[in-house]
Symmetry: C2
Subunit: 565 residues, 2 copies
């Protein structure tokens, strides 16, 4: 997504950008300065901001702006502090805030998928304990189900006491409560909690009397020989949407007034919380639902005149929870476990008979840790897949002819990397040299031939392939390695003479030596000197029959650089 236009407007207080897809967005100079990504603003080690807001003048303006030649980035100069920084086109697009917004409250982020019996009963997200313990991709899929649907089932758990905590520790941390690190759910004679009876339990979220509420609950089955006692889950976000559809005022009332919850079932606790049944963020995003008939305290925060309609809405919401059309049902056998997003999905239990035994164990954890682990797994899986793709493309296409030179494409890139290595370049530059022409492999045009009459812009294709997988400095070297040739031809009088015939041909297609303006823009690129070094190894990597290390030699180096690996 390259940038096409950058205008400074409103006396420098606003930067207006357009992208190649036609999107336009404005950014405030002050916002841009605060969110700069350069090493003087954000720690290169941990990504944290090094400045406080008072270190940025309130009257910060943009005084100069320039889109890079390929539209991949924009350089911005701020005053009065004369700070110059570069934002990538992608980053700006992803973080634009000059957008249309959802007006209707109750919306959810795109990766939340609501469900009911019809859409979910026959595709319950399920995995085995072995799978998710040993296979990162299986674990990522299972966690993604929790993120997307708010629940998932697991089979094949060891039926040993406390082992459900092992599941929680695959992605996060057990939240210890007054019930312990984990707790038994068995029928008891004088239960401290109605869960410890054989009564049915209406669909509910657990512990709404806690604040913060545990955001994940795991329930594992160790024994089950009773009649009944099957489990069901209901998507509370689907219930909220249904309420909004069928009774908009009721939705507004349940979201607009706090409910109260309390638990003092044993002598050592007296837990109380005041939070709404339907919780919206200030922007109307649906954040959480809470419902529990057992621990609901008297609702005293609803004005008298609103109470009848509030109770009617509460009653309607309750009826959805009890509606089989909303429920997904399953029976837990020993070794089964289910996990619910306790801010979203209600879980219920049918009554069961006193004969036989039913022994579950529960524990709590938090979903922020789950989402973090999921993101890290996705990054890692993507990194693995990226290295796999690089190897694959070298194998499939490396033997192809390179621009009519005496080397194949693979030989050219391996020779360039070997030259970088020989100069003692750091790993990022070695990898940049190794992959600088990767766009020839992956682009639709392949490499150049003497008959080629258009610029394939393979450096742009390479940028696309590498962005997000390798550090920005590597990507910049790849993005700029063609520009570096045009630059060197402009600033070094003897450089042109060093080009191969094929390179002279493509130089022409690429625009010839740079103009003075282009030279200035190039020199403003933070990594332009690195790109120049890569370019020199590029020119040097075209000698037939040179003995250089194979691709395997570089894979540890490459894997070590891949972001998120």
């Amino acid at each position: 997504m390259s940038l096409t236009v950058a205008d400074v407007v409103d006396g420098g207080r606003v930067l207006r950008l357009s992208w190649a897809n036609g999107t336009t967005a404005r950014f405030h100079a002050e916002w841009l300065r605060d969110n700069a990504l350069d090493p003087s603003t954000r720690s290169p080690v941990n990504g944290q901001r090094l400045l406080t807001i008072d270190q940025i003048p309130a009257d910060t303006v943009v005084t100069a702006v320039g889109i890079t030649g390929d539209g991949g980035a924009v350089a911005v100069t701020f005053e009065p502090q004369t700070h110059r920084t570069v934002f990538s086109a992608e980053w700006l697009f992803a973080h634009r805030y000059d957008v249309a917004r959802v007006d209707e409250p109750g919306w959810t982020r795109p990766d939340v998928e609501r469900w009911d019996n019809q859409s979910m009963q026959h595709r319950i997200p399920t995995a085995t304990f072995d799978d998710i313990s040993t296979d990162r991709a299986a674990l990522a899929d299972w966690l993604e189900a929790v993120d997307r649907y708010g629940f998932a089932v697991l089979h094949g758990m060891p039926t040993e006491s406390g082992r459900l905590c092992d599941v929680a520790e695959l992605f996060g941390y057990v939240r210890v409560t007054n019930y312990g690190r984990w707790f038994d759910v068995k029928a008891e004679v004088n239960p401290t909690n109605l869960a410890y009876t054989n009564l049915g339990l209406q669909g509910h979220t657990d512990n709404p009397y806690r604040d913060p509420v545990p955001t994940l609950q795991l329930l594992a089955c160790l024994e089950n020989t009773v009649d009944g006692g099957s489990s069901s889950v209901v998507d509370g976000f689907a219930c909220a949407a249904r309420l909004q559809q069928e009774d908009p005022r009721g939705f507004a009332l349940l979201a607009g007034h706090p409910a109260r919850f309390e638990y003092a079932g044993s002598a050592d606790v007296q837990l109380q919380a005041k939070r709404p049944v339907i919780e919206l963020g200030p922007d109307g995003e649906l954040l959480a639902v809470r419902f529990n008939n057992r621990s609901a305290a008297p609702f005293v925060d609803v004005p008298f005149d609103d109470m009848p309609a509030y109770l009617a809405a509460y009653r309607r919401f309750s009826s959805y929870i009890d509606d089989p059309a909303m429920q997904v049902t399953f029976t837990l056998r020993p070794g089964d476990l289910f996990i619910v997003d306790n801010t979203r999905v209600f879980h219920a239990r049918q009554a069961f008979s006193g004969s036989g035994s039913r022994w579950l164990q529960g524990c709590y954890a938090d979903i922020d840790g789950l989402r973090s682990t999921l993101a890290v797994l996705r990054r890692g899986l993507a990194a693995d897949a990226f290295v796999g793709r690089i190897v694959d493309v070298f194998e499939r296409r490396g033997a192809e002819e390179y621009l009519g030179e005496d080397v194949t494409m693979a030989e050219h890139m391996l020779q360039s990397a070997a030259l970088a290595n020989a100069e003692g370049a750091d790993p990022e530059l070695v990898v940049a040299a190794l992959l600088h022409d990767i766009g020839h492999f992956t682009g639709e045009f392949g490499t150049y031939s003497p008959e080629t009459t258009i610029d394939h812009r393979h450096e742009w294709e390479g940028t696309r392939v590498l962005t997000g997988y390798l550090p920005p400095r590597v990507v910049d070297c790849v993005r700029l390695h063609v520009a570096a040739k045009r630059y060197l031809c402009a600033v070094e009088s003897d450089y042109f003479a060093k080009l191969s015939a094929a390179s002279v041909h493509t130089l022409e297609l690429q625009g010839g030596p740079m103009s003075a303006d282009e030279v200035a823009a190039f020199e403003a690129e933070p990594h332009h000197l690195d790109a120049v070094r890569v370019r020199r190894w590029d020119e040097g990597g075209k000698a037939a029959g040179r003995d250089v290390p194979p691709l395997n030699h570089y894979l540890p180096l490459l894997s070590g650089l891949v972001l998120g690996a």
Copy 2:
């Protein structure tokens, strides 16, 4: 707070009540039915509700209502399910919702006290580790400071690694995160977090990129020989109030749009949260603040047109955090610890020099557990104090004359208890017999004499003294023991003849034998039969020189019954 009027209005859908202090409030029949406290609605063992809302007809109405003779309770009959239950006057007063409400957002509950440098620097809530480990009252005071002010300091911690978790476990549970159960805060060369440098840190809440955020943070000092590095805390709720005062639109903007926070400082985490800088509940209560310049991500949820004013408000809020007038400052020495409510109080660190060493350890916990422990401690302390008051009043006043009878007040009550014991009555009734006349001790009028011409209503004074400390059945027996005399005189033809002369005198002051209506109301009291038994022991406990066990004999029984003990 006795009830004076109970009217059924709006066709039975509403009950209108008035109390002796002039307060009037309406309750909906449906709400009352749902919140009934009887054993068929709430489990007597664990207090949880046994009904779901759909088990209560939406057209529930009140068809009969009657205030008890002393105004202490109201009996209510609901139809169509013909359910009869009793609510105490106190409970209804505490749970009335027909009240005026705060319109202005940003209010806090009454036990939150805001502070700044001037009001707090010289009264920092402080305790020692020994004190709070061994003295429940000291622990309660320290926890109450956290609840009220959002922070407290502790001296005399053992300077051993990990011991700060012991402090967390005095009141709750450590929240384990990716930083571990606890974490070191030392200057590092390549820190994963800017906290692990010697840079100053602007006042902030910790981990705003977590959701749920850890609601408590503890920081303990194990070593400190550096220059600088002193700590300060700022009341975020005071900052919010100041913003609301000085820039109401800015307050609305910070509360009205989510901010974003993120942390990916090490390879194993990618934490993100979207929550506002100022978080209000749906009723406008100020629930939390979040601020952290290091982990604030680009704010992309603020509409373009609001962004300048949003950033101005953010900037102003930041300036309050940096304002010495808002800061309370202290230096942590080895063995010192401070705790902050991480949803309210910002903590900051001055930069320190590289020479010497500074070693802190931090851990997280949650404030719901702290508040629960505080409530339980208060109950326990109140229970201890209650038993102490009973012993004290027996000692100070037990020898006083009882109504002109041949026994002292203490002898009368001990004899009544002995009679109950001899009949094999259960502990609640023995204690009711022991304490039935406690109102004579504590009321301003003392006991009766033959010259008394007004009803002292000592049973009502006794009810006041015992309510909340002893189970409702005990309190009801005390409350009804005078009514029981009037009842027995009405329904047992020979009962009047059993009364002592003094009791005949007071019977007249108390209203004489009950009318038929009064009898019916009395028989509707759930514990009226228990009260009748207590009354008979009362009449029997007036014989001079009887050898009965002393008060000490009953103290274990009494302590065992005290609520919250």
